[in-house]
């Protein structure tokens, strides 16, 4: 589904955001992309969506020309005055939105102003928006920032349902290391020129490689860096 080989990209010369990145994502996988702030995750999304082109290397997304890619952005701080209803937003993309709304159980919210919905429901609407043209690949950029833990779990469970029932390949950029480990099949950690690929169980080791320090990560939970270690490092 996605084949990236020796990819490098920089906005300003001599300051590469991504350097020599290589990895593959197969059809039907649910993959989490992790990395510290500024590691190039959002740049990678723009490359996957074709908004920007790599300086060097190759990137192949959905080699089948009929394949489509859906995208769910970060939860936005929407203007409370934005008057658009869920129906109007979905209609702006496609007239054929009812089946998707039924599938995601948001039919009863169609005539509600989007800005009046909870964070979890807003992201569900964004998911409906991205599913309207039946994508084969779904890319999500930190979709659960600011969403409560229950809505977050429901959201990830919905992604698993999409993967199983609609055979959609899912690429999720996130910081929710502990939570996503129970849902994803592969973890890719990136930081500039470093790329580590492994299973969810290998996440602590991958992050240790990436950050160069030890993390106490409780998989299936939120994570915190090892405070004692950080304290020692500071001295």
């Amino acid at each position: 589904m996605i084949h990236i080989k020796n990819l490098s990209f920089s906005y300003v010369s001599d300051n590469p955001i991504l350097e020599n990145v290589s990895f593959d994502i197969e059809k039907g996988e649910f993959v989490a992309i992790l990395g510290p702030n500024g590691s190039g995750k959002t740049t990678l999304i723009k490359l996957l969506l074709g908004v920007i082109k790599p300086n060097t290397g190759t990137i192949e997304v959905c080699s089948d020309k009929t394949s489509k890619t859906g995208y769910i952005p970060q939860k936005q701080e929407l203007d409370r005055f934005f008057p658009g209803t869920v129906r109007e937003i979905l209609e702006a993309k496609s007239k054929d939105y009812l089946k998707t709304c039924e599938y995601l159980s948001i039919t009863d919210r169609l005539d509600t102003r989007f800005s009046m919905l909870s964070g979890g429901l807003q992201q569900r609407v964004m998911m409906a928006f991205s599913l309207l043209d039946n994508p084969d690949l779904l890319i999500l950029d930190e979709p659960t920032v600011g969403v409560d833990i229950r809505s977050m779990q429901e959201f990830y469970a919905l992604l698993v349902k999409l993967k199983i029932e609609k055979k959609i390949t899912i690429v999720l950029v996130t910081h929710d290391v502990g939570v996503i480990s129970r849902y994803v099949s592969k973890v890719i950690c990136i930081k500039g020129s470093m790329t580590c690929v492994g299973t969810p169980e290998e996440t602590p080791r991958l992050l240790a490689n990436l950050y160069g320090e030890h993390f106490d990560i409780h998989l299936h939970d939120q994570f915190e860096p090892n405070q004692e270690h950080k304290h020692q490092k500071r001295h």
């Binding site: 908004v51 952005p73 005055f81 658009g84 937003i89 209609e91 993309k93 102003r113 928006f129």
Partner: protein, 267 residues
Amino acid sequence: MFEILGYGFVIKALIGGVLIGIACSLIGIFLVLKRLSLFGDGLAHVAFGGVALGFLLGIDPFISALAFTAIGAVSVQKLLDRAKLYGDAATAIILSVGMSLAVLIIGYVRGFNVNLFSFLFGSILTLSNSDLIVIFGVVAIVCAYVALNFRNLLLFAFNSELLSLTSKKDSEVSFYLSILTAMTVVITMRAVGILLVSALIVMPAMSALTIARSFKQSLVFAMLFAVISVIVGIIISAMFDLPSGATIVLTCFLIFVGASIFKNGSK
């Protein structure tokens, strides 16, 4: 009250005012939602520079203002896109440059200050037939663009990043919206004057956004509020011999206060 409707200039003012109100409210909704409420104000000051330049060169000030304002609008977009400036900072820069040019030209050539004042404060009661034709043309273009591009405009107001990543049309929408704002500002300064242009663009839109329950409803309410403000403002100003621009804007404000009270009352 109905006697004043027998005067041709009042009828022309009402027709022109209603048309201008429609264009301002349609553009205003998108500017307010993109947090560019003072964009119209900035462009109005640029238009003032264009008017002064028109007087200096001896060409129709409407045409010079239109060209000048369009350049200003595109410059603001470039400052936002390329230099990544904040919207208010880009507007402030363009506003200052436009106004400075106007002051320079006024200082250089003295003698047309009286004509310039009619652009500063508006004179909708002196609209000519040719003014009405220009206003009708601009309003038709604004309405046609909004109707034909409603989906993209809605997504642009909702999340321009999403529009950019899914259809790559955000730059196109942003560009045309800037040009249409420039055209709307130029016809609006005839009605309420350069100093009050942004009021007619922002206040009906803000009143509508306060109480509307959908996007389409907000556009309809904004048009309705703008048209009511213009009609009431023109009639009152004609009846009591008051400045028309200021009367229109104060009517807009009263509607905004009413909408806010209605919103708080219905909570």
